[in-house]
Structure formats: C-alpha cells, structure tokens
Amino acid sequence: MKSLLRQIIWKGQGRRSFVFAGIGFLLGLSFVLLAVQLYNRVYADIRADLESGELSRYLVLHKRIGNAQVMGKASANFSDREVAEFGEQPFILDLAPFRGNSFAAALTMEQFQDMQILLPAETVDNRFLDTIPDGWTWKPGDDRIPVIISSEFLNLYNAVLAPSMNYPRFTRDFIQQYPLEIVLIGNGKRRSMPIRVVGFSDRILSALVPAEFMTWANQEYGSGERGEYSRVIARVSDPGDPALKRYLESKDYETNQDALKGTAAGALQALLGILAFLGLLFFALATVIFLMAFELTISRARQEIDLLIQLGHTLPSLTRAVAGTFIPVVLGISGLSILLLVLTVRVLGSKITGQGLEMEPGIWWGVWVSAAAFISLIIGLSVWRIRASLAALAS
C-alpha cells in the first residue's frame, strides 16, 4: 500500500529541487561536522596550549611617539601605574619593564681605540631571559661586567658596521673571548670597564646587563632611577588575540607588527568559523528548498490527495507516503557525509602530523551528536511541513 500511495502522489513530480536540496544538505552537513571535528581535535588542543602558556610569545612594547610626545606634552615612557594596569590584562601572562641607562655608554675595543659603538644597555628581570648564562652576576667592586647581547645586534655589526668601519668581524665564540670594554660617561666622570659577553638573546634587541650593575651605574654616572620605563616586555598567551590588538591600539602602545600577526590558532579559528558558517548556510538553504519542494509536491498532487482522503486515507498514512522516501534518502546522504568526514579527517591527520602537530585519531562523539541533531532537525521540520500542508489541503 505504501508504495502504491507513493506512486499516486509522486507520479509525474519533478525531482530537480530535491536533488539540489540533497546536494546542499550533503555539503552543509559535511562542512559543519568537519568544523565540529576539527574544533575538538585540533583547535581545542591549540587553545588549551595557548591558555596554559605552552605556546606563549614575548613581545617588547613601547609607546607610539606622536606629536604630543615630541613636544613634551605627553610622556613617551610607561609609568609604574601603566605597567601595573597593563600587567593585569587577561591576555598578559607576565610583564616587566626594562630599566634603561641614564648615562652614556659605548662599546670599545683595546686594539681599536677609535672604535666607539653606542650601547643601548638595559636590564630586565631574569625570568624574561632566554636562558640565564653562567656568570650572570655582578656586584660593586667586580671588575668584569657580564653582558647579554642581541643575536640581531651581532648580525648587524658583522654585516654592516664591521665592513664599513674596517672593524673585525666576530663569531659568537670569538666575541665571548674577546676583551671588550664599556665606557661609562656621566656626572662629569668617564670610566672604562671590561665586559664579557656571556650570552645571546633572540628575544631582546638591546644589550642586557645585570640589574645590580644598572642600579650602581645609574647612581654613579647617571641621574639615578627614573621611575618610568621606555619599554616593557610581556609574555602573552596569543599574540594574535584581537583583545590584545584592541588594547594596544587604545593605549597607543606599539610592538613589532609581525609579532601580532595571526597565529596558527587564529588562522584555524577563522577557518573553522568560515567552514561552520558555510555549513550552516548550506544546511539552512537545503532545509528551505526541501520544505518548499514538499509543499510544491503536495500542491501538485492536490487532486490525488483530496481523493485519497475521500476514500478514507488518514493524514499520518499520507504523511508517511510523502516523507517515506525522504527519510531513507536523508539517512543515506548523512551516511555519505560521515564517510567523507572520515576520509577527510584521515587525510588531514597525516598532513597535520607532517607539520609537527598532533591530531587524535577517530571521530569525536560530539560529531555524532551534531549529526543526529541536524538529521533530526531536517527530518522533523520536513515531516512537520508535510503534515501542515496536508492538513491545510484536507480542511
């Protein structure tokens, strides 16, 4: 009887709308399920790593120099209060100011007496150093001052300064053995002190000296501690965090813009967002097309349905006849969608592993729940629409 009813109602009906809606449903469900799977298996892991600080990055920040700073109407330095407020932001894992020199300092070499390179010396809390090298201590009375120089500074020296000024080039090992001196000038005094390069930093572009030396030298050759700082260093969970960008913008703080470019997590979040949006869009369109196609089918079969009702057929049996083939088709498309998901996840899994990332194998249970929810939704809405259209016809 079911097939007979289907034959009566569906005979001569166009199937094109249903084919389009079916393709839309396949794409929509596949995209949404892939987004759910990747969110759980990849993005959530990256987010967790970000939040735990495992993927944190260091940013060195300063205030933007504008007309107000140039004209002295606004400070170009961070105050203690600004440092404290910055440190309390949720995207900041740790933050400390750099203390700079309030005296003039230059780098010299014994054999090259005419060589004097201005040395931007700073000090920062040891927890922000890449590694704490041996001999990283100094106390008044010590002859030799340990210094950590920026790897970039050494590169710049070797590539630009040394050839242009006829100075010797240094390897990392060599410069650590070479007798260098720092000339301290200030408060009417001038003194040369031997320094030893004890390490290199990829993180900080200035020359770092121990805090004790900076305190002593600022008192001896400078104007003492200034209570404000030209730069701060921050450890952030996610440099691509839009909240961080907004905060820096609002405060006129600057850093290397490359450092703020989207991270893998940000890119993945955007990708998953687009994927989920497209999936939901396709799903919504497919649902609307299905509902309209059913309405049209019922409208075209109006005379047949009317006669079936006159013969004693009930709305539930007619609903089953109209929706009867639809439910197996939806389940078939859903099965195909899940098969596509499994294959995609397998291919992505090998690609991601090749990139040094990890992706747990298997389909997350949330994907099954989502699939069940979407399938139920499209079947439920369709059956409801079919019943309503038939009831309208019957009345």
């Binding site: 007979l4 047949e304 006669l307």
Partner: protein, 213 residues
Amino acid sequence: MQIRLQNVLPSNIAEGPARQSDVWNANLTLQPGSRVLVNAPSGSGKTTFIHLLYGLKREFSGNYLLDNRSAVTMGRKDWAELRQIRFSVVFQDLRLFPRASGMENIRLKSELRPVTDQAGIREMAARLGMADKLNRPVDTLSQGERQRIAIIRAMCQPFDWLLLDEPFSHLDEANIRYARELMLERIEIQKAGFVLAGLGFDYGFATEKALHL
C-alpha cells in the same frame, strides 16, 4: 449504524425554490440494514444528499446524527474511519485515479481494511467482465468499464451503508444485472443497508423505502 437527519437543509438547496421533500427540512431516520431508493429528477440534490451522508458536504443547517452522535463535530480521523468501515460509495463521477490501473484503484481502497485479497478482486472483476482489463490504466477504459471498476472498489471494504449515486448510468442491462447481483451479495454478507439515488427506478434492487427530494 443508524442515520438521522433533523431539519437538514444544505446551503445550495436552501438557495433554490422551497418545495416539499422527504429529506430536506424534515425528520428522517434510516435504520441499519434499510434499503432506500432516492427518487428525484436530475439537479434536485441527489448527489448533495449522498455527499452529505458521506461527509463531503459540510455546509448545511439542522442536525445530522450517526448513532446519535453529531456528524458535524466529527473530525478528520473520525471520518477516515467511517469511510473505511461504515460507508462505502459509488460516486456519480466515479472519482478514480486516471493514470493508475483498475487494480491499483481498487487496492488503494481495499487495502485500508481488507475484506478480500487480490484473487477475490479478480473474481469480482471476472463477474463484471473486467478480468482482462484490471491492469490497464483507467484513462484507457471506456466510461462503462470505469463505472464497473468503481463498483468493484466499493465492494472491497467493510461497510454498514452502501451509497450509490446513479451507479449504472453507463451500463447495459446485462452488466446492470451482474453488478446488482454482486452488490446484493456483498450487502447480504455485510448485513448492510444501501441508499440508491436514481432517476425513478430501482434497477431491481427491491427497495423498502422511497424518498422524494
């Protein structure tokens, strides 16, 4: 199932000129198993009466009661059940699915509440001379052949009342006789009554009651 009409007057009849009638604006009771002939000229409301009894005509004044229950208050589900087991009908305009075969038309009714199988259907068709035409699409059959398909369809379900709206209008005498014999046999088996709407003669049905519209 008892049928009672109390001062029933369909909207389309009320609009016409008032006249004396055994049905309209009257109290009429049809007891179970009654054999009723409805006599009236064309256009006087026979089809309206059959449709009213079958629940297709809902616009009327007065009360229509089935076993003392108002038919007006019955919903779609109730009427579906009534049409499955209480009322069977041969429409004047037949109301067949033109692109379906005769057998499919009959099965669409008979399989709701089966009283016979496909072999039984073929046997009835053979009695009406339709055995070799059951599988042909209805729209390829003559009007008389279609009428016989509609009659077989009405016989293939349980019923208390058989409603016949000019059921033999396209049949010759021999086929009328075969159809009448089949109908009376099924009526006997089901202990049912019938209402035959015709043009003044009962086609040998030996009716007990004649109503004038």
